[in-house]
């Protein structure tokens, strides 16, 4: 994917807007991998935060992973007012990359546990919705 700024000048690489475009329009989770230390991230960087090296390449990540941690949000911010309760989740994808997402199906603390397998379901305003691998809450 050729990253570019709003005018198509190609000066921006690893732009936030490209990541969001990938979730929303292409159904992909993308980010960058450090060619030196191998660190991978789905946030926008121009130098590796682990080793400082600038040699980053854009990569696509797997869409399955497990829950690293989470919190059920009963008091949301304005953009999620009509969605609460739901869980904000940190997910470790199968290749070790960590991403933020949210899970509308998780309504209370007992609905989810650290380590549970989850998969990417959809993009939504402009985050990423995950769902349990096994399906909805039992």
């Amino acid at each position: 994917m050729a990253a570019s700024d709003a005018k198509g000048n190609g000066t921006m690489t690893h732009a936030i807007g490209d990541f969001v475009h990938a979730y929303q329009e292409e159904g992909k989770i993308i980010g960058v991998a450090c060619s030196s230390c191998g660190y991978k991230t789905a946030t926008s960087i121009q130098r590796c935060p682990r080793c400082g090296v600038a040699n980053l390449k854009e990569v696509e990540f797997p869409k399955k992973g497990k829950v690293l941690s989470f919190s059920v949000q009963n008091v949301p911010s304005d953009e999620f007012l009509n969605d609460a309760p739901y869980a904000y989740v940190l997910v470790e994808l199968e290749d070790g990359t960590r991403v933020s997402g949210w899970m509308p199906e998780v309504k209370k603390i007992g609905d989810l546990a650290i380590g549970e397998p989850v998969r990417w379901k959809a993009s939504y305003k402009p985050g990423m919705v995950f769902e349990k691998e096994a399906g909805g809450p039992q």
Partner: protein, 397 residues
């Protein structure tokens, strides 16, 4: 992990003391933020013995000035204090704004660029609703990746808490003991937002805001203002009328801001780095610190602060708190003021207000929350979820 870089030629610098420190009662303010800032500054000057004309620089903090439609507030404050020609700047570092402002004042005075400085932090959010305030607070985190996935500010700390509870077996009742302790301290602090103790039942029966956090795990939205007069004793010692606090160390550090990019979800690296740096600069050890005011925007944040700064091993602070170790008269007094949790957390006033508590402890004005023999105190102030951290160490002169 890379080390914080910076010159360490501390033996050649000027000494820096805090000569005066004042705050208003945290809670809801009738006056505008800028008025409260000026009033706190006047009180701090009166306590110190210095006058506004002694000041070479004013460092202001007001992270959510947008809520009052006011930026560039330094010249307004200086004009109201009769010193319109004095330079000013606003220092923003989310919840650690006014400790960052204190660090800037320290750097100016230690480096000889000013003989004295005013540090004043304030916030007013009570005139906007909880939804808007919650939305503003979320802006201190990574908006594009965290807030866009529905994470509120409590939600991010709650995510750290979920991970800490899983890894170390930390229990809700242990977090509740921190809330009970800090409310009890606040009940003895006339500056505090909350003036009543709470029970464990009150804590456990309060609604879940962001799991695992109950309402009483969370600091309130508070208005407030706090001001510090910081000065070079070589120039102003003769003028000082209160017992001053010598700044033994003024250290700051950063961490990866976005939680998903952290190596470990049970620690805030900036707290460890800033504390290591502060203790090294002060040439002190953990056992030398008599008491500390730490950044407990949530109960779990107090646990992380104590552990990450190295005062107790990882996984031990919550249990120690439940056993009474962190009471104001315990072995390791933490947040005798009531902390952010119960004294209140007007974001940009908090770092300066922590120093108000240090001065009150040193000046024998802490009443029933006094730490016996308090002569060396530490303040720890975190920006957002740990993207920034300030640690200061003070010694009674």
């Amino acid at each position: 992990m890379r080390r914080c870089k910076g010159r360490e030629g501390f033996d050649t610098m000027e000494e820096v003391w805090v000569a005066g420190a004042a705050m208003n009662r945290f809670g809801k303010m009738a006056e505008k933020g800028r008025e409260a800032a000026v009033n706190a500054s006047v009180k701090a000057f009166e306590m110190s013995g210095l006058s506004p004309k002694d000041i070479g620089y004013t460092f202001v903090s007001n992270a959510f000035g947008i809520a009052e439609r006011q930026a560039h507030v330094g010249p307004l404050i200086n004009t109201a204090l009769g010193i319109p020609d004095v330079p000013s700047a606003t220092v923003e570092s989310a919840c650690s704004s006014s400790s960052a402002a204190l660090h800037e004042a320290y750097v100016h005075i230690a480096g000889g660029f000013a003989d004295a400085a005013l540090v004043v932090g304030f916030e007013k959010l009570s005139h906007i609703d909880t939804l808007a305030a919650t939305s503003y607070f979320a802006m201190g985190a990574d908006y594009a990746f965290e807030s866009a996935n529905g994470a509120t500010f409590p939600g991010l700390y709650a995510t750290l808490a979920t991970a800490h509870m899983k890894k170390y077996g930390t229990k809700s009742e242990e977090l509740g003991a921190i809330a009970v302790k800090n409310h009890a301290n606040a009940a003895n602090n006339p500056h505090a937002h909350f003036q009543k103790p709470i029970t464990m039942d009150t804590y456990l029966n309060s609604p879940i805001i962001s799991s695992p956090f109950h309402l009483y795990d969370c600091c309130p939205f508070s208005d407030g203002a706090a001001a510090l007069i910081v000065a070079n004793p070589a120039k102003f010692k003769k003028d000082m009328i209160a017992t001053p606090a010598k700044i033994r160390a003024s250290a700051r550090a950063g961490s990866v801001a976005t939680l998903q990019d952290r190596v470990d979800l049970t620690t805030i690296p900036a707290s460890r780095l800033a504390a290591e740096k502060a203790l090294r600069h002060a040439k002190l050890e953990h056992k030398d610190i008599n008491f500390m005011e730490v950044h407990d925007c949530f109960t779990m944040a107090e646990v992380l602060a104590i552990e990450d700064m190295g005062f107790l091993p990882k996984g031990h602070a919550a249990k120690a708190g439940a056993e009474g170790v962190t009471q104001h008269d315990g072995k390791l007094p933490v947040n005798p003021s009531g902390g952010l949790k119960a004294k209140g957390h007007p974001v940009s006033a908090t770092g300066a207000a922590q120093v108000v508590e240090v001065l009150e402890q040193f000046n024998g004005k802490a009443g029933k929350r006094a730490v016996p023999g308090a002569s060396i105190g530490l303040t720890h102030n975190v920006g957002a979820t740990g993207g920034s951290c300030s640690v200061h160490i003070f010694e009674k002169v």
